[in-house]
């Protein structure tokens, strides 16, 4: 029987990496990811996890070590946040190209300028195009479950791609809440020993990471793109198998009270829970509003999204990051693009809120919904707008 315990969400993330019996952990501590790495180093030091814990001098090195260890066939886990994730940036592109199924917890934090240790999604949105599968958790249970799911997907021979599991810094990572923890024995029903297709081995030399001259570079990119797109099937079937074994169901697009909804809020991450409460409050006031969340962000679940949005008249999309000088936040732009030219496409309004740890309240969600309805009725509104900006 899974054990229901009160635990800090960061520690539950480490326990998930432990339950799948990770072989190598290479990470550099950075707020608010620190507790994950600290706890993993404890688990290794205490002999509870038989893994190499490789301390490194930077995140750039951490990701380089992860790629190396994954290339020799070791199950590899790491975690980072914000500036740390950004320091990994150039190496992140290489992991999918080498088909190294690394799993990384990204504890979402604002990018500096001004310096901020608090939560938003500017770190992950800057890594949107690096070729990793990307999922988002809303609560501690999902963090635990999605990390385990990530290993199953990453190591599937049809996938062999790295996966980032996103969780909001502080507002989720530092909360103590009840989580049903699966132990290593229970997880073994779902996660089998990793069987790499090709490894770096001096006895059987292969080249990984060779130069891609113009004659092959395009084809190499095309292969990453097609395998990332095709990974959606495995992502979904692995969630189905998870539900069959452990009873908790996950989908690429999650919906809440969308039946009969004319207006739908779109969110990602832990504010989705606040949004559910906001939806309940608005439904009590007879506003026909529902909620949709991206659980899977890469590959973008286009068909699922279009299906879920059918019949919706107004969409209010929340971004937790600014895309300077663009037409709106990154989520808004993708949503609008996904619906462009579709028959009966809804009126879409973009909102940016919760930057650098600014709290997102149920009142803010109500403001977004009301504004989206007003702009739809008028037939025009701002391209996108920042919510909760202080005027003085």
């Amino acid at each position: 029987m899974p054990k229901r315990v009160g635990i800090e969400v960061s520690l539950a993330a480490s326990e998930a990496a432990c339950a799948v019996d990770s072989d190598v952990i290479a990470a550099y501590p950075i707020t608010p990811q620190t507790h994950i790495v600290e706890h993993l180093s404890e688990l290794v030091a205490d002999g509870k996890l038989d893994a190499e814990f490789i301390p490194v001098e930077s995140e750039h090195s951490a990701m380089s070590v992860c790629i190396g260890s994954s290339a020799v066939g070791a199950r590899t886990f790491t975690a980072s946040s914000a500036q740390g994730l950004a320091l990994m940036h150039e190496i992140l592109f290489i992991a999918p190209a080498l088909r190294t199924p690394i799993v990384m917890a990204v504890v979402n934090r604002a990018m500096s300028g001004p310096i901020s240790i608090w939560n938003d999604h500017s770190d992950i949105m800057a890594e949107r195009d690096v070729g990793w599968i990307q999922t988002f958790a809303e609560n501690g249970q999902e963090v635990f479950d999605l990390i385990i799911h990530a290993f199953r997907v990453a190591e599937d021979p049809k996938v062999l791609l790295p996966v980032m599991v996103n969780l909001d810094g502080f507002t989720l990572s530092h909360v103590i809440e009840p989580i049903e923890m699966l132990n290593a024995r229970e997880v073994r029903r779902y996660i089998k020993p990793y069987k790499p297709q090709m490894v770096l081995d001096p006895k059987h030399p292969v080249t990984m990471g060779a130069v891609g001259v113009p004659e092959v570079y395009t084809e190499a990119k095309q292969q990453i793109e097609s395998v990332l797109r095709a990974s959606k099937k495995v992502v979904v079937s692995a969630w189905k198998e998870f539900a069959r074994l452990y009873g908790r169901t996950y989908r690429p697009i999650e919906t809440y009270r969308t039946k009969g909804a004319e207006v739908v809020l779109m969110t990602m991450g832990s504010v989705s829970e606040t949004a559910m409460t906001a939806v309940d409050k608005m439904r009590d006031k007879e506003i026909a509003v529902g909620l949709m969340r991206f659980r899977l962000w890469r590959p973008f679940p286009l068909e699922e999204f279009r299906r879920a949005v059918k019949g919706v008249k107004v969409l209010a999309v929340l971004d937790r990051a600014i895309s300077y000088g663009a037409q709106g936040g990154p989520v808004f732009m993708e949503v609008r693009s996904a619906l462009y030219g579709q028959a009966g496409q809804p009126n879409i309004s973009g909102f940016v809120a919760g930057l650098g740890g600014r709290d997102i309240t149920t009142d803010m969600f109500e403001e977004m919904v009301k504004k989206a309805i007003r702009y739809a009725k008028k037939g025009k509104g701002p391209t996108y707008e920042l919510i909760g900006v202080r005027e003085k």
């Binding site: 009160g6 240790i117 103590i176 809440e177 606040t274 409460t277 149920t362």
Partner: protein
Amino acid sequence: MIEIRVHGRGGQGAVTSTELIALAAINEGKYAQAFPSFGPERRGAPVMAFVRISDAPIRTRERVYNPDIVVVLDPTILKIVDVTAGLKKNGMVILNTSKDEKEVRKAFGIKAKMAVVDATDIAMKHLGRPITNTTMLGALIKTTGIVDIKSMERPLKGRFGRIAEININAMQQAYKQTQ
């Protein structure tokens, strides 16, 4: 759902106290969230920590703006922080103070329901240090019954190991003395 805000100073264990309450509630089969006011911790500066407890899953990540209960670990906080800010109607303030209720009400103009206990005195007797976070748990449980006092023992033992017992004793004495 019950929402609690704990006021203290950095280093006084406000965050720990909220964690312990949440763990006790979760062990009782309830749902709970404990979280600090996020940021760099500074020893001695006023800090807040929060707990939500509910019989149903908790679906919000907002900060606690309108607590049902406010716990004040350090009496000197009253001079610099309005501890009743946002307190719900019929909300309650639980104070560590050596003064009696009337005196505190007069000095700080607090009109809300109130319970007082000299937690610093109790903590000095049992722990030999003016750290009141575990002592104040006794006062909280006595006045609100939010968890069973026995449910606190396991989290306290998990957190404090061999010094758990003196903390449990301090909590129990506050439970008896809170008015």
